[in-house]
Symmetry: C2
Amino acid sequence: MQIKDKSGLTIVPVPSLRRLTIYLPYLKELSSGVTEYVSATTIARALGYIPIQVRKDIAYTGITGKPRRGYPISELVNQLEVFLGWKSYKNTFLVGAGNLGRAIMGYPGFKDCGLQIVAAFDADPAKIGTRLFGIEILSMDEFKTLVKRMGVQLGIITAPEQSAQEIADIMVDAGIHGIWNFAPVKLNIPDDVIVQNENLASSLTVLSKKLDQIV
Amino acid sequence: MQIKDKSGLTIVPVPSLRRLTIYLPYLKELSSGVTEYVSATTIARALGYIPIQVRKDIAYTGITGKPRRGYPISELVNQLEVFLGWKSYKNTFLVGAGNLGRAIMGYPGFKDCGLQIVAAFDADPAKIGTRLFGIEILSMDEFKTLVKRMGVQLGIITAPEQSAQEIADIMVDAGIHGIWNFAPVKLNIPDDVIVQNENLASSLTVLSKKLDQIV
């Protein structure tokens, strides 16, 4: 049984969504070869999953395999890219052009998933007006006007925790719908704005705590 | 009821662990002020959690509050730091000194949580022998010998996905117990080695998919 949201769309469980993002790069590589079809079993074996799980995950995208042959690779790649939104570029603003911000701006992998950082913002006057990886660094004073003008939907916070809430408030006020927050702080955000927290210090702690339990 | 592992240690649920890593920076800041005690309600209100949850999370660390006064702040900070392992420095090797690797090496927040990157490794001969944020970049040929010599427990993979498995194999062979993997690939690793995957492209996709459903 699949769970539907209010508008009747199937809600894809987050673990399936995460696995689909791992199948896609593998399938893309495969599609540059001579093979035309791939089975769930082949994908599962190559990536260390179980076939039934792979089959279920792919079923969410609406594509079905052919008996004994599997999925047509190029069609599957296309469908997955559309399904995951990797083909619809989202104009994004990043706030905080420090080390982490720079890494995000320069990370080539994000372009493949539709992330288009069109401008970055920083509080440091020395950085304003400079460019990093072709992206201009601007003053926060211009943030709200530019969100409207450039149709920006997504904001990334890579600023220190002390200023994260203030930045989030500016983002919400400017009309941004989704925030990707790298600051180690819980943001106070209205319900209609989606927040994805990426707390690296907390992931590290989880790992290091597990490590303490085995060593 | 608390769940115990084989050696009788209480297993802390990951969400509690993650929340504790968020309470700690807040409490540290508080401890530099004049207040001596803090209640679960105050912490909950400041960080947007519910008091009963905060009380439960803190109970895992073994510290108990006093009626009407709450927890002694400096004792709580100390206990939390020990509990989360932020005071026991873990010698760590990082492999892949590209943009993401550089961001991890330069991120000041990790030092507070006990992460000590003692060397970095890269395949690019031009990088070998140089230093970044005081950390020397070495050749993979030296990896295994140095793991033993420096008692390294933790490895970070910030290399491209194509080389991630090969690097993981080298880490396991060298005797590393925990791997923090930033490459968007599922690693094939023996059960006694702990892996924490940090797939940023996949987090971005989850956010952007949710965004599609509301906009």
